[in-house]
């Protein structure tokens, strides 16, 4: 988990996918380019079908629903297939306050997801505890439980903000690099 999180480091799943020997590569130019092509195709495929885990905790979940419904229509980004099973999901959107009792569940769900997996901390509560940061039961920041790729500020964030976070995740998948890729 920890070594996966170094910003800018390439993801394992893209590197190990195709192995081509030097001899083959010298004989055939197309085969030599194969790893790069496969990387690109895989990244394009993963990036445009990032399926989120259907998992809403608190208020932000309502805005998450709004993002996936008529007006904001997350289907434009290929993420409308909300999977209820963590095994089929690529992206976990932690939408809401995580407390001590819930943190165990969040970690377990994260562990059950298959690689490559990404986490968006949606809203102030998931990012750092939000207005509940100093209470006795709230985990201030979901990064204490699972590694977070993108934080979305707001209480609750607008659906557009969630969509931008999703686009950042897509960019990570397409380039094969974790870490923030600012697009301005």
């Amino acid at each position: 988990m920890a070594e996966n999180q170094v910003p800018g480091q390439e993801l394992d799943w893209l590197n190990d996918s195709v192995v081509v020997s030097d001899a083959e590569a010298n004989q055939n130019v197309i085969v030599g380019k194969l790893p790069a092509v496969v990387q690109k195709v895989l990244g394009w495929g993963y990036g445009n079908s990032t399926w989120p885990l259907g998992f809403g905790i608190a208020c932000c979940a309502i805005e998450m629903m709004a993002a996936s419904c008529s007006k904001y229509d997350i289907a434009r980004f290929g993420s409308e297939a909300v999977r209820m099973s963590p095994r089929q999901a690529d992206l976990m959107i932690v939408a809401g306050t995580v407390n001590e009792k819930m943190a165990v569940v969040v970690r377990r769900l994260y562990d059950q997801m298959a690689e490559p997996k990404f986490v968006i901390a949606m809203g102030a509560c998931a990012s750092n505890g939000g207005p509940y940061w100093d209470t006795y039961n709230v985990v201030d920041g979901v990064h204490k439980v699972v590694p977070v790729d993108v934080y979305v500020p707001g209480c609750p964030p607008r659906p557009e903000a969630l969509l931008q976070a999703l686009m950042e995740i897509q960019e990570m998948l397409k380039t094969g690099k974790r870490g923030l890729i600012t697009k301005g």
Partner: protein
Amino acid sequence: MEQAKELLVNMGPQHPSTHGVLRLMVKLDGETVTWCEPDIGYLHRCFEKLSEFKTYPQVIPFTDRTDYLAAITNELCFVEGTEKLFGDAIVVPERAQYIRVLLAEFQRICSHLLALGAMAMDIGAITPFLYAWRDREKMYSLFERITGGRMLYNYLRIGGVRNDLPAGILGTPTDGEDKADQTIWGFINYFDSYVWPQWEALVTDNRIFQWRTQDVGKLSAANAIAYGASGAVLRGSGVKFDLRKNLPNAIYDRFEFDIPVGKAGGDCFDRWIVRAEEMRQSSRIVKQALAWLAENPGETMGKVPRILKPPKGEIYHRIEGARGEVSCYIVSDGGTNPYKVKWRSPCFVHLQLMPLICPGQKIADVIAILGSIDIVLGEVDR
């Protein structure tokens, strides 16, 4: 080979139809539920303890976040409770009262839309959910113009409301569907002429939906009263009790509306009908408030001291929220912070009905029952 008689099934806390993070433990004999027990606490955010360290105006945003689908009614409960603590010292202008009622009823429509959509989706119809959101987005854009927030507003103030309605938001009674996301009149007309008939035709009259909900999860009137149910759950069981009529807060006694009650013995379909009918009644109230507001401009904030220090005392204030009776018990020790805030949330009470209703039903009906009592976990756990 000996077979196990009962199977313990664990629903949640991550489950598509538990409306958040509720864990239900269900014992099954075949497909029939023999025992059901909710496990709560996955969203306990210490609202009551936190309130003791905040000044009175600072508590208002936290009340928003208890029941995040009907934020205005929660604010209304706390704000009116605090005003009651002050006694005659704070006088709320009449226009502010009307704006409060307008928004509370508007919020009720908004909340019921999601409740109905989510219940239909739990049963297996996805389309109504999308329709609910189509209309909720229109309401959100109106709310955003009035209060600045889409969902959580922090708009009501002790002594009034934060700002007057923006110019042109009321619209005129002739506004049609094209102005549904620009004026309140536009939305209400659109709601009456298009949205409600559509729900009626699409879901309420749907045979499959009726089969899934009729005679499912029956709750008798005696049990509903004994368990302290309120709101659509109580009225669905045939008890005609609505705090807006029976113990009017704010200025509800000036409005004309009916209280719908269920007639078929309190099954899921009854609760559905009551919610759907309540939306129409709310739209009636909104229309009356709009007519008054259009003619009576004025102040929206009463005279309030800069530092709010209510006199020593305690108060219990109850109002009819979107899900039932929301009430708060505030103890003041004369300081700037409440000494204690106790929140009575309808969802918490309604969730206690699950062990009562569920045994004897099929496992698929548990979802329908949970959808019909319409819980919000933020309010259950606070």
